[in-house]
């Protein structure tokens, strides 16, 4: 079977390159925009995803993990008594101020637990022993703080809420959506940093279920016993935290608009080049009709050409997006491209190109085969 579609498409290499570039541009734009968006959102729930808790008890209407509200820390005892709960501990997440050696004052987000080792947080300890946190005025600081605080080293001191504290460890990859650096402190010490707000208080209760326990049943029972709190599964809490930033900051809308514009540019470029190509090959399509081919034969040629442009453009666009990853990481951003999203973009590219080809379908349907006799 002679492949007229492919041969004709590749015959004019410059036009083919322009078409593929149009698709590749759209694909790169979509990958980078959505990848950055997902990277940002990942920061909004990264601690929730890593902390080994099946359920989270929060104060009523807490919008996201960073913006915590307090409630009595004794509530944890009620949670521990619920059948199906294997372990429950208080967690404080709270904004504090840190005085830097430069004299500047910066915000910091503390995560405070009684025993960090039980909850898989921090999950990436580069230096130091978390058990030492209980031994004095100590804290761990995440590497991402370098950007805001400047370089730091274990053994150095910083002032947190007016208290001189020593850095005894460093972690990696613990981030907040607001880019406020995260510090890890012992739970009791955290309560002393801001006694007015935190004495006798917690902001969350982390719950680990006993093996075989029904999460929904345990959740319902905790909610019944703590009527002034909310209870979420890990998945729901992560989704709520992400949703807050999407809805309240407009980054979701910004992302959708950019993706829409990317697709629009792709469709326009592909439609324009395919249409021009169709116009220039009208006589060839007329010949196909004259030798017995129908509109469907020509639609098939155009659809195949559009699909080839889509596949080539997708591969080029995806490679460009992946090639940009190291540069994006260097500026402390994350580009997250899940495999399912790659599949969606691939299908979208094909649909986009086929939609663009449909403009040419209309022209082809009206071809007068008698044009083959015209000089």
């Amino acid at each position: 079977m002679v492949d007229l579609a492919t041969k004709s498409l590749l015959h004019d290499k410059l036009r083919f390159l322009i078409t593929v570039s149009g698709v590749a541009f759209a694909v790169t734009l979509v990958f980078v925009q959505v990848g950055l968006f997902l990277g940002l959102l990942d920061n909004a729930s990264i601690t929730i995803e890593h902390i080994d808790a099946d359920l989270w008890v929060t104060s009523r209407n807490t919008p996201n993990v960073d913006f915590a509200h307090t409630f009595p820390d004794t509530q944890v005892k009620r949670v521990r008594s619920v059948p199906g709960v294997a372990r429950a501990d208080n967690l404080i997440v709270w904004f504090v101020t840190m005085n830097l050696p430069s004299g500047a004052q910066e915000g910091s987000l503390i995560y405070a637990l009684d025993d960090f080792s039980l909850w898989n947080i921090p999950w990436n300890v580069m230096e130091g022993d978390l058990a030492d946190l209980k031994r004095g005025q100590y804290f761990f600081l995440d590497d991402s703080a370098v950007k805001r605080y400047g370089p730091f080293a274990v053994g150095e001191y910083r002032e947190i809420m007016g208290q001189r504290m020593k850095i005894i460890g460093r972690t990696k990859h613990a981030r907040s959506f607001t880019t406020t650096p995260i510090t890890f402190i012992d739970f009791d010490r955290a309560q002393t940093l801001n006694p007015q707000s935190l004495q006798g208080k917690t902001t969350y209760i982390l719950v680990k279920l006993a093996p075989g326990a029904d999460p929904q049943a345990v959740k319902a029972e905790i909610a019944r016993r703590l009527p002034y709190n909310d209870v979420y599964t890990r998945k729901d809490w992560a989704a709520r935290s992400r949703r807050y930033w999407v809805q309240s900051t407009g980054i979701g809308l910004n992302m959708y608009i950019t993706v829409f514009l990317g697709c629009l540019v792709g469709i326009v470029v592909v439609a324009q080049t395919l249409y021009t190509s169709t116009m220039e090959h009208l006589k060839e399509f007329g010949t196909v009709k004259a030798i017995g081919g129908g509109n469907f034969d020509i639609y098939r040629i155009l659809a195949k050409q559009a699909s080839i442009a889509a596949v080539a453009g997708f591969i080029l666009g995806a490679l460009m997006a992946y090639a940009m990853r190291p540069a994006i990481t260097k500026i402390d951003l994350k580009l997250i491209i899940p495999p399912a999203f790659v599949a969606i973009v691939f299908a979208g590219s094909v649909v986009m190109c086929l939609a663009a080809a449909m403009i040419s379908f209309k022209k082809v349907a009206s071809i007068d085969p008698a044009l083959v006799f015209r000089a």
Binding site: A290, D297, P369
Partner: protein, 230 residues
């Protein structure tokens, strides 16, 4: 002899922008039999190409009948017309109309693919007709690398491929020099006769008469003369 192609009292009018109708064919009747070579002559604007398009089921007549191998080309069933072209008619065009991205062999093979022949069968038939027109050694050349005469040979091979009983040629020598044009006509005639095809050649070229069995003269949309070629 039973005709393979008949036009019976064919009229064709075109509607112009202001709603006026312009008659192009005014009651044309003709028939073509297997093995017969007929030239259709006439001045520019006499309706030659319109008649050829109607005979080839590319255009439909305003009234009258076209019968191809006993089947009426019914304008009320437009989906049937490509099928008739596929099965019964091969075209040769003045501008050759080859696909520039396909080699000589692929140009012929593609036409066979459209007619429903696939793979080795199509390849074998394409090679047979290219051999018949003397282009066996040029079959892997693109049209841009071939002379006008060679391109027209490919176009003839494409028309011959698939053994359509009717061959319709529109000014096949118009873009060729006199010597090459003469060779092409001789070859075309020989092949049409050998394979028992009916060949209708629309032309301005007086040389075409020399290869024709019959000459039709068309003037102002009517057949003015139907006679044996001298």
């Amino acid at each position: 002899m039973t005709p393979v192609l008949e036009a019976i009292d064919v009229f064709k009018e075109y509607r112009e922008g202001r709603g006026e109708t312009v008659p192009v064919l005014k009651g044309v009747s003709l028939s073509l039999s297997r093995g017969e070579i007929v030239s259709l002559e006439g001045p520019s604007g006499s309706g030659k190409t319109t008649l050829l398009s109607i005979l080839g089921c590319i255009l439909t007549a305003s009234s009258g009948r076209i019968v191809v191998e006993g089947e009426e080309a019914d304008p009320k069933r437009p989906a049937r017309l490509p099928e008739i072209r596929k099965k019964s008619i091969g075209f040769v065009f003045q501008q050759f109309n080859l696909f520039p991205s396909l080699t000589a062999l692929e140009n012929v093979e593609y036409a066979l693919n459209v007619k429903g022949l696939r793979n080795a069968t199509a390849r074998k038939e394409a090679e047979r007709v290219l051999d018949a027109v003397g282009l066996d050694d040029r079959k892997h050349f693109l049209p841009r690398d071939l002379s006008g005469g060679q391109k027209q040979r490919i176009a003839i091979a494409r028309a011959l491929a698939g053994r359509s009983p009717i061959l319709l040629a529109d000014e096949p020598t118009a873009n060729l020099d006199s010597h090459i044009g003469g060779q092409i006509l001789e070859m075309f005639r020989a092949l049409a006769k050998k394979e028992d095809r009916a060949l209708l050649i629309v032309t301005h070229d007086p040389k075409v008469r020399t290869v024709s069995d019959r000459v039709l003269q068309i003037r102002d949309g009517s057949i003015a003369e139907d006679g044996i070629a001298a």
